[in-house]
């Protein structure tokens, strides 16, 4: 054909892919943490202190944050540690800073609009100082973090080529989300009164009441899924349905199933682009995807929800390791013999 345009085979440095992947993971982590604390702040107003500190324990477990040494839950201190404490490497401020550092090192790979958006979020988070007044209106801060992350992804989708680099951003985002949501579900189902690992309990399929109701609303809101849950199942909250929705629903963007689908899709695209089709990461993600799509919630619950999510997390971790070994940090000797 005349004037046939030969598509240039693009090259992506491993370091660059690594940076894009981690940038995206850190940003997702910041957003997730912001949502968790924000939801807690709102629920706390309606709850007794005991109920609230029970939730904090779950929250700390879900975020893999250390529990206070004296066992006392002080929401003010914990909020500070998880948001603006620079010495905590997984606080929101640390995550946003690391996301920006990663993007800064690959600036020529992203659009200027993306850089400006993330830079703006960074400057905003860094100009915030912790105080009583700030705490009282901290929802403004959390909203800014969430919106900043949403804007970044919106700008990314509409200004960056949806090529290999973009796929690593998707990959990082959804690997992080799979892990975070699975951990959150695990934290809810591994404690009394819902730790029903021995036998499947019919109470799980009954509507919950008052105090408990708020807890389940909290879990759904932590996953930005309360409204879509209601659309699916009405406001009739049953633990079984909540678990089904957050684990197995293919359409809810914060469900584990949805996230794993995205991870798998990104890995398929990357395998195609790098011409490494038969590689481990795709296989691992594909297997996890199949597990989730063929699982039924009553079976999951019968064998124990926390064991199930633990298994999901493990498989997700294996995929993460495989991504590192295949694309980012492979041994040179092996690559040379190919």
């Amino acid at each position: 054909m005349n004037g046939h345009y030969q598509h240039r085979q693009t090259t992506m440095l491993s370091r660059v892919a690594d940076s894009l992947y981690w940038m995206s993971r850190y940003l997702e982590r910041a957003e997730h943490t912001a949502r968790l604390i924000d939801v807690d702040f709102e629920l706390r107003l309606d709850q007794s202190p005991e109920a609230s500190s029970g939730r904090w324990m779950r929250l700390l477990e879900a975020l893999q944050a250390p529990r206070p040494e004296d066992g006392k839950i002080d929401a003010t201190t914990l909020t500070h540690v998880l948001t603006l404490d620079k010495t905590n490497s997984s606080s929101i401020i640390s995550c946003v800073t690391k996301a920006r550092e990663n993007l800064r090192q690959v600036r020529e790979q992203c659009s200027s609009a993306m850089w400006e958006q993330l830079n703006r979020l960074y400057l905003q988070v860094n100009s915030t100082t912790s105080s009583e007044a700030w705490l009282l209106h901290s929802y403004v801060f959390f909203r800014a973090v969430r919106e900043g992350a949403h804007l970044f992804h919106g700008v990314t989708d509409s200004t960056m080529s949806h090529g290999e680099g973009w796929q690593y951003i998707q990959l990082g985002r959804y690997v992080e989300r799979t892990d975070a949501v699975a951990r959150l579900i695990g934290a809810y189902f591994s404690r009394e009164p819902w730790s029903l690992d021995q036998t499947f309990d019919q109470t799980l399929d009954q509507a919950v009441e008052s105090e408990e109701y708020l807890e389940w609303v909290g879990l759904l809101k932590n996953c930005a899924a309360f409204e879509s849950y209601c659309k699916n199942y009405t406001a009739d909250l049953r633990p079984l349905r909540v678990a089904e929705f957050l684990l197995l629903n293919p359409e809810c963007p914060h469900s584990v199933r949805f996230s794993v689908d995205k991870v798998h899709a990104a890995l398929m695209a990357i395998a195609e682009l790098t011409e490494r089709k038969a590689e481990q990461p795709v296989r691992l993600a594909g297997r996890l995807r199949a597990t989730l799509s063929f699982s039924q919630i009553d079976e999951v619950m019968a064998s124990g929800a926390s064991a199930y999510v633990e298994n999901v997390r493990q498989q997700c971790g294996q995929a993460h390791n495989a991504i590192h070994q295949i694309y980012f940090d492979y041994p040179a000797e092996e690559a040379l013999t190919h």
């Binding site: 992506m12 491993s14 090192q105 790098t274």
Partner: protein, 484 residues
Amino acid sequence: MQFRPPFRNYQFDSAYDEMFEAPGVPRPHYEALFRTLLELPPEEMRKSQQAADLSFLHQGVTFTVYGNDEGTEKVFPNDLLPRIIPNQEWRKIESGLTQRIAALNLFLEDVYHRGRILADGIVPRELVYSCRHFRREMRNLTVPRGIYVSICGTDLVRLPDGSFAVLEDNLRVPSGVSYMLANRKVLKKVFPTLFRDYGVCPVDHYAQALLGTLRALSPLQSTTRHEPTVVLLTPGVFNSAYFEHTFLAQQMGIELVEGRDLLVHDNVVYMRTTAGLKRVDVIYRRVDDDFLDPLCFRRDSNLGVPGLFNAYRAGSVVLANAVGTGIADDKAVYAYVPAIIRYYLGEEPILPNVPTYLLSDSSQRSYVLEHMEELVVKAVGESGGYGMLIGPHSTAEQRDEFRQRILAEPRNYIAQPTLNLSRAPCFLEGEAQARHVDLRPYILYGENVTLVPGGLTRVALRRGSLVVNSSQGGGSKDTWVLRA
């Protein structure tokens, strides 16, 4: 005599003024700009300046100042009034610089091979061998096309009589070209009509020309394999010119790599990509010789690639510029460049040098030590305005300090008369003020010598200052070379 705003306080002295041939009388090629400025409300200019500053900040057109506490990132100040060069003057500059880069390349090739020029006593042998940038490892190594310096930025100054002279050659890793391009982009927005009416030669094809130059050095014959893979090697995000590195890589569409992205196996250089290892053919390196290869040069370097120099010696990869080019821009060797041109080309230099005193010579040294208040003393291996004494602006203490340093290491210093650099109008404090400027055109040497018509006009923004380096409070402005 009073002039109309914005020239009310415009000052003249013995320096050549780029805009005016006599107080109030603009040179013909500045006439249109002069009239535009008289008509333009200062408020308008101030707004444009703010918009320009903001766009530089957002794009991150910054450099890092060393020696500062935090290694602060600063926006490179840009001045909105263009420096205009008539075509005829440019053509002379172009031929002068073409001649110069040709002679300097022949010099490097000679010094690293037979050393005829040393044997003939044109350039003293000890001067070359004592140079800090002399690389023994380069002896008898043949570089592609015999080109050592393929990217060069030469600093020119205009003397009071209106003629241009070469102040300094930058043959290692010259920087600043991204500011030339960024300035142009801004000025096109600020003065669209004026720009069009002037008929300014474009500079936007620089990145393409650079890529062409780098490809021309490739060890591959274009028929044997696909296109050569060219990469830009940066020291990383903390380097003062990191913005420029990302900018050029993006404009050329090549990978920006760090040392840790590359590895050498069997004398072949590869970059680590997600699709596996990919062979690299040409490296436009913005890393100094010292840090290129810890196995060969500085062992403590984390920026380099172990084994890179061996691969280079084996000819499987090309470095641009070559290793060891620093001997030709040593400030003491500089004094011999006119002789170097005559020796290799049999021609008279088109662009003269600035008179230079070599302090290793005892009679020149004693003259300099007696006249330090009038002279500029420079360390031979330094650049960027570091390691320099400006006699007329110095204190007795500083002069003493330099005197000690000279006596301790005379080979390490040269002196030059304090040059009265030409001045050009700059828009400062809401009006036009005269500031000293120089000019750094960028020369590319691949298949042939290419100069994009223009360059970086650097400005000493502090009143009365003669130092134009960005690290010393300098700024820059766009340079318009006219088509006719």
